[in-house]
C-alpha cells in the first residue's frame, strides 16, 4: 500500500514538473520563432503564449508522467491493480478536466491582451545599421514613432535593381505578429521577417520535427474535445490512459529494466502510430473504395441509426475500439495469462 501511495505522489509531482517544463519549453519555441528585432518580450506577451503552450503540452505531459510513475510502480510493486486504478483515475481526471481548469482563469486576461494589441514594436536600437532580414536588408537614419526616416530597403527577392530608397516609411505591426513596412509606390508594402539564423534555433530540425509532429497529430484529436467535457472527451481520455496502463505489462518483460523501458516505449509508439495513421488511412481508403454507401450501408437512409452511425462514428469510435481491444489483450496477458508472481517481482 505504501508503494502505491508513493507511486501516486510521484505521479502528481512529475505531472507538475513535466507540465511546467514542457509548457515553458513550448512557450520559448513560440516566442523564439517570432522573437526578433522588433517585438518586445513583455509579461503580457508571455501571458498570451503560455496558455496556448499549456494546452498543447498537456496530453504528452500527463502521459509521460503516467509512464514514469508506472515505471516506478513496477519497479517497487505494491498491489498492482490498486496502483492501476489510482494512477489511471488521476491521469483520467487530469486529461478530462485539466485543460479547462488550467486555462479558464486566464481566458479573461488573454481576451483583454488581444483586444489591446499589446504586441508592439520594440524601441528600435538599430538606426544607421544594416538590418539583415529574411530576403531583405533595411536601413534607416532615425525612427519617429512608427515611421522610419531617410532610409532604404534592399529587396533581395526581386530582380535587380533592388535598392529602394525612402524619405518616410510607416511600420505597422499586426496582432498576428506580422510586421509590414509601407514603402513608396510602386514598391508598396513589404512584410518583414526575421533572418533565418535568428529564429532557426527555435524551430526543430527534420528529425526532432518528426517526433513532435507525431505528438501533434495525437494532440489535434485530443484538443478537438478537450475543455468541453463532453462524452467524446471522456472516451478519448479513457482510451489514452488505458493504453498506457495496459502497456506497462512490458515493463516486466525481462530482468533488465532499461530494456523493458525502451521496449514499452517502442510498443507504445507502434500502437499510437497504428492508431494515428493506419486506422484513419484505412477508413479514408475504405471510403474511396466503397464510396459514401460505406457510411450508411449498415444504417438505411432516414432511419434513426443513420444519425448515429455516420462518418464521425466510424472515424472516432472504430479507432478507439481497436485501441481498447489492443489494451484489453495486454491486460489479459498481465493478469490472466502471465500474471506476475511475487518471487519474480524485481527488488530494486
Amino acid at each position: 500500500m505504501k508503494e502505491t501511495l508513493i507511486a501516486v505522489v510521484i505521479f502528481c509531482l512529475l505531472l507538475i514538473l513535466v507540465t511546467v517544463f514542457s509548457t515553458l519549453a513550448f512557450a520559448v519555441h513560440l516566442l523564439g520563432s517570432r522573437l526578433f528585432l522588433f517585438p518586445v518580450v513583455t509579461p503580457e506577451m508571455l501571458l498570451t503564449v503560455i496558455p496556448a503552450a499549456l494546452r498543447y503540452v498537456f496530453l504528452p505531459s500527463v502521459l509521460l508522467s503516467l509512464f514514469f510513475a508506472l515505471t516506478r510502480a513496477r519497479r517497487k510493486p505494491g498491489p498492482v491493480f490498486l496502483s492501476y486504478i489510482l494512477l489511471g483515475a488521476l491521469a483520467f481526471a487530469a486529461l478530462y478536466g485539466g485543460p479547462r481548469l488550467a486555462v479558464a482563469p486566464l481566458e479573461a486576461q488573454i481576451t483583454r491582451v488581444h483586444t489591446q494589441n499589446v504586441l508592439r514594436p520594440r524601441d528600435l536600437d538599430y538606426p544607421r545599421r544594416l538590418i539583415p532580414l529574411k530576403g531583405a536588408f533595411l536601413y534607416f537614419d532615425r525612427k519617429e514613432g512608427a515611421t522610419l526616416a531617410d532610409g532604404f530597403f534592399v529587396d533581395t527577392d526581386r530582380p535587380s535593381p533592388r535598392v529602394i530608397t525612402f524619405d518616410r516609411a510607416r511600420l505597422t505591426y499586426e496582432a498576428s505578429g506580422t510586421m509590414r513596412l509601407a514603402l513608396p509606390q510602386p514598391a508598396g508594402n513589404r512584410v518583414l521577417e526575421p533572418l533565418t539564423a535568428e529564429s532557426a534555433l527555435f524551430v526543430p530540425d527534420a528529425a526532432a520535427g518528426t517526433i513532435f509532429g507525431f505528438f501533434t497529430a495525437l494532440n489535434e484529436r485530443y484538443l478537438v474535445f478537450a475543455g468541453e467535457q463532453t462524452a467524446a472527451a471522456a472516451v478519448l481520455s479513457f482510451v489514452f490512459v488505458f493504453v498506457f496502463l495496459s502497456s506497462s505489462v512490458f515493463l516486466r518483460a525481462t530482468r533488465w529494466p532499461l530494456a523493458n523501458v525502451f521496449l514499452t516505449l517502442l510498443i507504445l509508439a507502434l500502437v499510437l502510430f497504428f492508431y494515428n495513421s493506419l486506422i484513419t488511412l484505412f477508413l479514408v481508403e475504405a471510403k474511396k473504395l466503397l464510396g459514401e454507401s460505406f457510411w450508411t450501408g449498415l444504417a438505411p437512409r432516414g432511419s434513426p441509426l443513420a444519425s448515429i452511425f455516420g462518418e464521425s462514428f466510424w472515424s472516432t469510435a472504430v479507432p478507439n475500439a481497436v485501441l481498447v481491444f489492443i489494451s484489453l489483450s495486454f491486460v489479459l496477458v498481465d493478469f490472466v495469462f502471465l500474471p506476475e508472481r511475487k518471487e519474480e517481482a524485481p527488488r530494486a
Partner: protein
C-alpha cells in the same frame, strides 16, 4: 557478462567505435549516385560523410554507452572505504572530461576540414558536370571547337568517364582540318601550322587544289617538295597549280595596283594595332581592348602572318588584367549551387563617402571571381539627410585586384559588351577600373545573406570576425549579427558541459535500471545493445534541440553579460547536481 574491472569509459568508447563503423556502412550505402561526386572521389567522400554523421551523433552514442555501461556490462563496485570510492568517481569525471575534449576536437578541429573537403569534392563534380552540359549545348549550336574545349576541361577532373570520353571521340570525328587546328591552338597554345608535317601539308595542298585556291595549293606543294624533293603527288599538284597561277598572274598584274593598296592597308592596320597595343601596355585599358579586336580581325584575315600572331598572343595575355569575357562570366555564374547570394555591404570610398553595394550573386572558380548584378548606391552624409547621390547597376563583373571590373567583352564582336546602367545621378567611378573596393575582397563573401547559417560555421571563423581578432568586428555596420555570433559561440562553448551533464545523468539512470539476471545474461538481450543507440539518436535530437533553444532564449532575453552569467551558473549547478546524484548511486555500498 559482468566485468567489474572495466570502466564506463571503455564501454562508451566501444559504443562510439561501433557507432562509427555502422555510420561508415550507412554512408557507403546511401551516398547517392545523383550527388555531384566523381567516381574517383567517392571513397574518400563516403568516409568524410561518415565522419560528419558521427560528429552529429557523438552525444547520442556517448549517452547510449553511458546507459549501457552500468546497466548491462558493469557491476556496481563495492567500496570498502571512502578513498576508493572517490578514486572511482574521479576516474569517471576524468574520462568524461577527456571524451568531451575529443568531441570538441572532432567538432571544431577536424569537422571544418572535412566539410571543406566535401565541398571541394562536390564543387569538382559540379564543375565537371556543368562543363559537360555546356559542351553538349555548344555542340548542338554548331560550335564544335568550344564544345571540345569545354569537354576537355570536364575530362581533366573526370578522366575515366565513359560518356565524356565517347563525346570527345564523336566531336573529333566531326571536326574539319581547320577546326582541328583551331582547337589544338586553343588548348595547347601551339599552332600546328607552325610545325611542318609533310602529310598535313600535302592534305592542305590537295584541299586547296580542290577549292581552286591555286596559289595556296602551289605554296603547300612547294613546301612539301622542299622537304621531299621527289614527292610525286606534290609534283603533280605543283604542276597543275603552277599552270593556273601563271594564267592568274596575268590577271593579277591588272590587280597589282589593288594588291599594293591591300598591302598598304594591311601595313597601316598592323601599325595601328601595334600602336594601340603599346598604349595598352602603357596603361590604357581602352586601347588594349581595341588592340585585341584589331589583331583578332587581322589574324582571321591573315592567318599565316607570324607578327600578327605574336602581337595577338601578347594582347590576349594582357587582357585579363583589364577586362573579362562575358561568356566565361555567364558560364561560371550559371553554377548557382556554388554561388554566394545577396551580398550587401557599405563600401568605404577614398573621399570618405558612403557607398552601398548590393551584389546578386558571386561565384569563385579557382582564382577567377565573377559577380552578377552589382548595384551601387552612393549616399550623402547623415548631416545631409542621407540623400541618394547616384545609383547604377552593372550586370556582370569580375574581381581584378581590389576592384570589381565591369568591362565584359564578347570574344569576337566588339559591339557586344556588358554595359553599366546608370539609374540616378552621376556616378563617379573609373569606367576602366570599375568599382574600387574599400573592404578586403575576401570579406565580400562574408557579407552574403546566403551565408548566415551561423550554426554551420566553425568556431575559429566565428571568433575571427569579432574583437580582439578583428577591429572593428566584421559586422560592425550590421544590426544583430555580432549578437548572433556571440550567442552561437556561447552555445558551442557550453555544449561540452552539456555532454558531460547528460552523460552523467545517463550513468545514473543506468545504475538505477541495472539488469538483474541470476546467472549469465541471455544472448537475446544483446539485441538491445544495437537498439538503444538508435533510439537515443532520436531522443537526443529532441533533448539537444530543447537545450539549445532554452540557452539561446536566456541569452536573447537577458542580454550578453547577464545571460552568459546565468547560463554559466545553470551549467555549474546542473553539473554539481548530476555528479552528486551519480555519486550517491555509485556509493550505495558505503551507506550499507
Amino acid at each position: 557478462m559482468r566485468n567489474p574491472v572495466a570502466s564506463p569509459a571503455s564501454i562508451i568508447f566501444m559504443t562510439l567505435l561501433f557507432g562509427f563503423a555502422v555510420l561508415v556502412l550507412f554512408s557507403a550505402l546511401t551516398t547517392s549516385k545523383e550527388l555531384y561526386v566523381l567516381e574517383q572521389n567517392r571513397t574518400p567522400f563516403v568516409w568524410e560523410r561518415a565522419f560528419l554523421l558521427f560528429t552529429d551523433s557523438f552525444i547520442a552514442l556517448q549517452c547510449a554507452g553511458a546507459l549501457l555501461s552500468y546497466s548491462l556490462f558493469l557491476s556496481v563496485p563495492s567500496f570498502s572505504d571512502r578513498r576508493r570510492f572517490l578514486r572511482s568517481l574521479s576516474s569517471v569525471i576524468v574520462s568524461l572530461a577527456v571524451l568531451a575534449a575529443v568531441y570538441v576536437a572532432c567538432r571544431e578541429g577536424v569537422l571544418p576540414l572535412v566539410k571543406r573537403n566535401m565541398r571541394e569534392t562536390r564543387t569538382l563534380g559540379l564543375f565537371s558536370d556543368a562543363l559537360f552540359k555546356a559542351a553538349q549545348e555548344k555542340a548542338r549550336s554548331g560550335d564544335l571547337v568550344s564544345a571540345l574545349a569545354y569537354n576537355r576541361i570536364a575530362l581533366l577532373a573526370d578522366g575515366r568517364n565513359r560518356e565524356k570520353l565517347g563525346f570527345k571521340s564523336t566531336l573529333l570525328s566531326r571536326l574539319t582540318d581547320a577546326q582541328y587546328d583551331e582547337y589544338t591552338a586553343r588548348v595547347t597554345g601551339v599552332d600546328p601550322r607552325d610545325e611542318f608535317d609533310v602529310a598535313a601539308a600535302l592534305t592542305r595542298a590537295r584541299n586547296a587544289l580542290a577549292k581552286k585556291d591555286h596559289p595556296a595549293a602551289l605554296a603547300a606543294a612547294r613546301a612539301v617538295l622542299a622537304a621531299e624533293q621527289g614527292n610525286a603527288e606534290a609534283l603533280r599538284i605543283a604542276g597543275i597549280a603552277g599552270e593556273n597561277v601563271a594564267a592568274e598572274e596575268k590577271l593579277a598584274r591588272k590587280k597589282e595596283a589593288q594588291a599594293d593598296e591591300t598591302a598598304r592597308r594591311l601595313y597601316a592596320a598592323k601599325r595601328d594595332a601595334v600602336a594601340a597595343l603599346s598604349a595598352g601596355k602603357a596603361g590604357s585599358a581602352r586601347e588594349l581592348i581595341r588592340a585585341y579586336y584589331l589583331l583578332a580581325d587581322l589574324r582571321r584575315r591573315f592567318p599565316f602572318d607570324v607578327n600578327i600572331k605574336g602581337y595577338l598572343q601578347e594582347a590576349a595575355e594582357l587582357l585579363p588584367g583589364v577586362s573579362f569575357f562575358t561568356e566565361d562570366a555567364e558560364l561560371t555564374l550559371s553554377f548557382r549551387e556554388l554561388a554566394e547570394t545577396n551580398i550587401v555591404f557599405w563600401n568605404p570610398t577614398a573621399n570618405g563617402g558612403r557607398e552601398l553595394v548590393s551584389i546578386e550573386a558571386m561565384v569563385a572558380a579557382g582564382d577567377q571571381v565573377y559577380f552578377k548584378n552589382v548595384e551601387v548606391a552612393g549616399f550623402a552624409p547623415h548631416t545631409d539627410g542621407n540623400r541618394l547621390l547616384y545609383h547604377y547597376l552593372a550586370p556582370l563583373g569580375r574581381e581584378i585586384g581590389n576592384s570589381i571590373n565591369f568591362t565584359g567583352l564578347h570574344r569576337t564582336d566588339p559591339a557586344q559588351r556588358s554595359e553599366v546602367r546608370v539609374l540616378a545621378g552621376k556616378p563617379a567611378f573609373d569606367p576602366e577600373k570599375g568599382l574600387t573596393l574599400g573592404v578586403p575582397p575576401r570579406d565580400v563573401r562574408a557579407y552574403a545573406l546566403s551565408r548566415t547559417d551561423i550554426e554551420n560555421r566553425s568556431l575559429s571563423e566565428l571568433a575571427g570576425s569579432l574583437p580582439p581578432f578583428r577591429q572593428p568586428s566584421l559586422f560592425s555596420h550590421y544590426a544583430r549579427m555580432d549578437e548572433l555570433i556571440i550567442r552561437e559561440i556561447v552555445l558551442r562553448v557550453s555544449e561540452p558541459f552539456f555532454l558531460i551533464i547528460i552523460s552523467v545523468v545517463c550513468l545514473s539512470i543506468g545504475l538505477t535500471q541495472r539488469a538483474r539476471y541470476l546467472s549469465s545474461t541471455p544472448k537475446s538481450v544483446y539485441v538491445w545493445v544495437f537498439v538503444i543507440p538508435l533510439v537515443m539518436l532520436a531522443v537526443m535530437d529532441v533533448i539537444r534541440f530543447i537545450y539549445r533553444m532554452s540557452t539561446a532564449f536566456i541569452y536573447d532575453v537577458l542580454g550578453a553579460a547577464f545571460g552568459i552569467l546565468i547560463i554559466a551558473a545553470l551549467h555549474i549547478a546542473a553539473l554539481l547536481l548530476s555528479f552528486l546524484r551519480f555519486g550517491m548511486r555509485l556509493g550505495e555500498s558505503l551507506r550499507r
